[in-house]
């Protein structure tokens, strides 16, 4: 069976700038994997290539053995939130989900279920411009989950969440993976990541610098933060 996600020699160049360089890694089903790297390391560019939003200069990005655009009913395979701001401020939360539900051909009741799941049922008929950052994050997550995907890809999902929201997200992601589904989550919050993920993929300057189970990486009593800073340190220092 094809891996849930695989990047092979994935490369993206913008003119002279190489954002992602020969990146290769795979995800197994049923895991929560953290995608880490300093700002500008190429994380978001990698996610955009995996999700068909940007064309790789070289290499391949496959989900379930196929390019994202070749998946049938892709929302049932992959749910993703790349930016919590990807909402129309003048549309209500419920309408945001209804618009997507029509594409994914899921019943209207599913919209209500997702609103309840992310605790937005009470705010569903308010326009998004009145939502807090945390509410936007949760609405984005509800959209990603709308069609019951097997893989969830989240870019910095914890931004704007309060401690309660953070715990909720962590528990949710673990439960999601416990059902045999897969989570790939980029984050800056290393302490949070250390509590949530089983594996980490670390990139720096567009290159892979680590791809290992968290337990192996921080085997000796060092913290994920120590390991991360060491792996991504500038050579001059």
């Amino acid at each position: 069976m094809a891996p849930v996600l695989s990047a092979v020699g994935l490369t993206k160049r913008y003119g002279d700038v190489t954002a992602v360089s020969g990146l290769s890694f795979e995800l197994e089903a049923g895991s929560v994997t953290g995608f880490l790297g300093p700002n500008g390391a190429g994380k978001t560019t990698t996610l955009r290539m995996l999700l068909g939003l940007a064309e790789p200069t070289d290499g391949s990005a496959l989900l379930f053995g196929r390019r994202f655009a070749e998946l049938e009913r892709p929302a049932t395979r992959v749910g993703a939130v790349l930016d919590s701001a990807d909402l129309h401020p003048g549309r209500t939360g419920r309408d945001h989900l209804r618009v997507l539900a029509r594409v994914a051909r899921v019943p209207r009741s599913r919209v209500d279920e997702m609103l309840a799941l992310v605790d937005l049922a009470g705010a569903a008929d308010r326009r998004v411009k009145g939502y807090s950052l945390g509410m936007r994050q949760r609405l984005g997550l509800a959209a990603a989950l709308l069609a019951g995907p097997e893989l969830l890809v989240l870019d910095e999902p914890a931004n704007g969440l309060d401690p309660e929201g953070m715990r909720w997200l962590r528990d949710f992601l673990r439960a999601f993976a416990a059902e045999g589904r897969t989570v790939f989550v980029s984050s800056h919050l290393l302490a949070e990541v250390a509590q949530t993920v089983e594996r980490v993929v670390i990139v720096d300057h567009g290159r892979l610098v680590a791809d290992a189970p968290l337990r192996e990486l921080v085997a000796d009593s060092s913290s994920l933060e120590d390991v991360f800073l060491e792996l991504t340190a500038e050579p001059s220092r």
Partner: protein, 244 residues
């Protein structure tokens, strides 16, 4: 495809943008009715040309603002980033573009029907109230109505294509405004033999205006249709190629 189309139609109905643009089209129509119908002298109002402008007044506002509505249907996705969820649910970009183009048909249709109902209704009432005879036949009225619907629908589709080409919402709106009020008007005034082939003037011809040098309605339909096809083709190329 049908799921994407239903989604696009719902998008148009779930923000206030479409309603506000329709309101603006109605305001322009009312202004046109006022200018053509109420400020004209009786002698002017008795003329066929003036009655065409009065009864067909709905086509200008409908055409311009339906173009904006089509435009914003695309540019708002880039402005607010909803293009990402849209393409995550339907990564075949041509399907999304096609759905927006098809959704522009009822969109333009609504703008045209509302504005033309106003200008035809008010126009007939004004002509009758001011006691000048109606110089237009039933066939003329029908041609005005269908011409307005056709030109407005093509205008909304052109708007979608322009929005896909110029993704920046402010830039795209300014481009259409500058085009409509500068390029189109100036070129037609200066060199009508060329200016009449521009989309705006082809649309006027299709809408049944009888201004000197304009194409016939049939030619206007062909020319505006050709412009729409050309812009859509360019939009397809841009949509296929660019990173989001």
């Amino acid at each position: 495809m049908s799921g994407q189309l239903r989604s696009e139609l719902l998008k148009l109905r779930t923000t206030r943008t479409t309603a506000l643009l329709l309101l603006a089209a109605v305001a322009i129509t009312l202004l046109g009715i006022g200018v053509e119908g109420l400020s004209a002298t009786l002698a002017e109002l008795a003329k066929e040309e003036r009655q065409r402008l009065l009864l067909g007044a709905g086509s200008s506002g409908a055409g311009l603002f339906a173009t904006f509505a089509g435009l914003v249907a695309v540019t708002s996705e880039f402005r607010y980033g909803t293009i990402r969820p849209t393409l995550l649910f339907e990564p075949r970009r041509r399907v999304v573009l096609a759905a927006k183009l098809v959704a522009a048909v009822p969109l333009g249709g609504v703008f045209a029907v509302v504005c033309m109902a106003l200008s035809l209704g008010a126009g007939l009432a004004i002509v009758s109230a001011r006691g000048v005879g109606l110089a237009l036949s039933d066939g003329d009225l029908l041609a005005l109505a269908f011409g307005a619907v056709a030109s407005t629908v093509l205008g909304a589709m052109l708007g979608v294509a322009v929005g896909a080409l110029i993704r920046n919402q402010v830039g795209a709106v300014l481009a259409v405004v500058a085009y409509s009020f500068l390029v189109d008007a100036v070129l037609f005034a200066a060199v009508p033999s060329v200016g009449r082939f521009l989309p705006g003037k082809a649309g006027d011809a299709l809408a049944g205006r009888h201004v000197a040098h304009l194409l016939t309605p049939g030619q206007g339909a062909a020319v505006l249709g050709a412009w729409t096809i050309a812009f859509v083709a360019a939009a397809v190329v841009r949509t296929d190629r660019s990173d989001i």
